[in-house]
């Protein structure tokens, strides 16, 4: 299932082949080269960087207190010079809430991907490395998780670990404790595909001679696993964490939309949209348009980036160079 890269037409010239013959490139140079030529991926990368600058820069200009500042006289006011993106139902500034909500959405996305990538790598790796009944058991469990429609699984798990939680303070800022629950729910329901990819990849590597060589040298299972097997499956792991980040931000939006997400007053792009839903028929389009545009923009950027990385890490796509 190689994604055919976007740049094949421009790069099949004889010149580039000659160039490659001149100096042999290291694998990472080749990856960077393939990535750079993937125009859409570069656009995605730039988009993601701009957004990160926006949400970090914005929080330097506007203090966090302003994101939760209510102004009941100015509630539901449309975009104006004082409130660029208008205000919500209790008069909070949508623009500043998008800045801080973006930080939370990204934070949730990154941590959820960390959970799911660690689980996926560990489960897939262990299944492939040990084989036998361990493999069967872990893979049947993976298949069982995959057979349940993902949103059903998400809801059941959210109901299971979700309960009343207080506030948590991280780095001097107060957040709703529900952030932790959302991270866990997304992380625990999205590791399955990666586990299968890692398993397939480790299965093909573990029979290679250098693994037998290090075993002959007396390396322990743990050492072989973490020093030799995991680094060699890094390509698919990086690609699926990038695509997984887009997926996690999207899932956060779904979870929040269903009301199982992060609780107010902490804002995320997802719960801002959920809040907007009930005011849509009253014509408060700005509460809905701005957060959703940001959601689509970040997910689109990260997806494009991930697609480019997939082509860049896939040696089979080198025929296009």
């Amino acid at each position: 299932m190689t994604e055919t890269s976007e740049f094949a037409k421009s790069s099949t010239s004889v010149g580039s082949i000659d160039e490659e013959r001149k100096a042999p490139l290291t694998p990472s140079q080749l990856i960077w080269r393939r990535f750079r030529k993937h125009r859409m991926a570069v656009v995605g990368g730039i988009g993601a960087v701009l957004l990160i600058i926006f949400i970090i820069g914005g929080s330097i200009i506007y203090p966090e207190a302003r994101a939760n500042e209510t102004d009941l006289k100015a509630r539901l006011s449309p975009p104006s010079e004082t409130h660029w993106f208008g205000t919500d139902s209790v008069g909070r500034d949508v623009f500043i809430r998008i800045i801080y909500g973006g930080q939370i959405s990204l934070f949730i996305g990154i941590l959820a991907v960390t959970v799911s990538v660690s689980l996926g790598t560990l489960i897939g790796g262990i299944a492939a490395y040990y084989g036998g009944w361990v493999d069967s058991l872990l893979m049947r469990f993976t298949e069982a998780m995959l057979a349940i429609p993902s949103l059903f699984l998400l809801i059941v798990l959210a109901k299971f670990i979700g309960r009343e939680v207080g506030q948590v303070v991280i780095l001097g800022r107060t957040f709703s404790g529900s952030i932790g629950i959302v991270i866990l729910v997304i992380g625990l329901t999205s590791w399955m595909y990666l586990a299968r990819i890692v398993r397939a990849s480790v299965l093909s590597i573990k029979e290679l001679d250098y693994i037998s060589a290090s075993r002959a040298l007396g390396a322990s299972d743990t050492r072989i696993f973490f020093r030799h097997l995991v680094p060699n499956t890094l390509g698919p792991i990086i690609v699926s964490s990038t695509l997984g980040l887009a997926g996690a931000i999207l899932t956060e939006a779904y979870v929040s939309f269903l009301g199982l997400g992060v609780q107010q007053p902490t804002s995320t792009w997802g719960n801002m949209m959920q809040q907007a839903q009930s005011f849509l028929t009253r014509g408060a389009w700005w509460m809905w348009v701005f957060p959703s545009t940001f959601i689509v923009f970040i997910i689109l950027s990260v997806n494009l980036l991930g697609d480019g990385l997939r082509d860049a890490f896939d040696p089979r796509s080198s025929r296009h160079l």
Partner: protein, 319 residues
């Protein structure tokens, strides 16, 4: 072949065992079914005890699980705590409506994505291809409620204000048996599902057509003077469609679960909404029933798809 089939079925049963156990633990422990009786006046502590005993909630959890599984195997999924109806009856009411919505949507999704994928692959790197690719990526990156709420805003609320023919929001009461009403209520959800789902499928098909077009036998076909039309449709398309058929086949059982968010936004009385409504109330017999039905559908359908695949593609041997 037979050995393969037996092994797959044994695996499937094991997977279903894991699914039921996982779902039972998660749903059973996430809420207390007795909570609804907790603060009702007129229900004494003894009454509560009696109700719990009748529902079998006083037994240890493993016993409850085995009892539920035993009854489920005989086709009895228990009664809903809230509506008091048998779960199987509730599913029987909702399933046809979900299938009507999802199968209609799926047909359009397949048609649209075949056309888009084919055009994009044949006109690779043209303006049309870039447009389709861009739109697919946007569709792929969009939560479905974004487009669903937009549709309601425009086609239901604004069109009504402007005096144009408008579509129902779904908030009104309607009779699913009336075919005209049914179609009127189906337009927007189907449109949203198509807009979101087509993206992935058409992109997938584009990739597999391009892969096939790069193979030697296509060059041979062109070299021996076949028209581009014959090369494309008789030679390339037939092979390129194989992986596409597989992913559709694997997605079909998931249609039974309906589309939770779409059904909720458009208040379509289907399986997804049934699940969501009763999951919110912690009505675990209903939740477990829906989970069991959809996931066993998925597990057994996967085996059927794998078997059918050997018919479609004789190069594949099962072993």
């Amino acid at each position: 072949m037979w050995a393969y089939l037996v092994r797959r079925i044994v695996q499937a049963i094991f997977i279903l065992f894991i699914i039921t156990m996982l779902c039972f633990i998660l749903t059973r422990l996430s809420s207390d079914p007795m909570a609804q009786y907790a603060n009702k006046p007129g229900i004494t502590a003894e009454d509560r005890e009696r109700i719990a005993k009748n529902l079998g909630l006083d037994k240890p959890l493993p016993v409850q699980y085995v009892r539920w599984l035993g009854l489920a195997l005989q086709g009895d999924l228990g009664n809903s705590f809230f509506s008091k109806q048998p779960v199987i009856e509730m599913i029987k009411q909702r399933l046809p409506l979900t299938l009507k919505l999802m199968i209609t949507a799926e047909i359009f999704i397949i048609l649209v994505s075949v056309v888009l994928g084919l055009v994009a692959a044949v006109k690779q790197y043209s303006f049309v291809d870039n447009l389709i690719t861009t739109l697919s990526f946007i569709g792929f990156s969009m939560p479905i409620f974004f487009i669903a709420l937009g549709c309601i805003m425009l086609f239901a609320v604004k069109f009504k204000q402007w005096g144009l023919p408008y579509l129902p929001t779904g908030a009104d009461i309607w009779d699913p048996k009336d075919p005209i009403e049914l179609i009127r209520h189906m337009v927007m959800p189907v449109f949203c599902l198509v807009a979101i789902q087509t993206a992935g499928y058409s992109r997938f098909l584009r990739t597999s057509i391009l892969e096939v077009l790069g193979l030697d036998y296509i060059r041979t076909a062109r070299a021996k003077g076949l028209t581009e039309r014959v090369t494309l449709y008789k030679h390339a398309f037939r092979n390129a469609i194989l992986p596409f058929v597989t992913i559709i086949g694997l997605d079909i059982p998931f249609l039974m679960g309906g589309a939770l968010v779409t059904e909720s936004v458009f208040t379509w009385p289907g399986m997804g909404r049934l699940f969501w409504e009763y999951a919110q109330r912690g009505d675990y017999p209903v939740v477990l029933g829906v989970l069991l039905l959809t996931s066993s559908g998925v597990v057994f359908f996967t085996i059927i798809v794998d078997l059918l695949y050997t018919v479609v593609d004789p190069r594949i041997r099962l072993g």
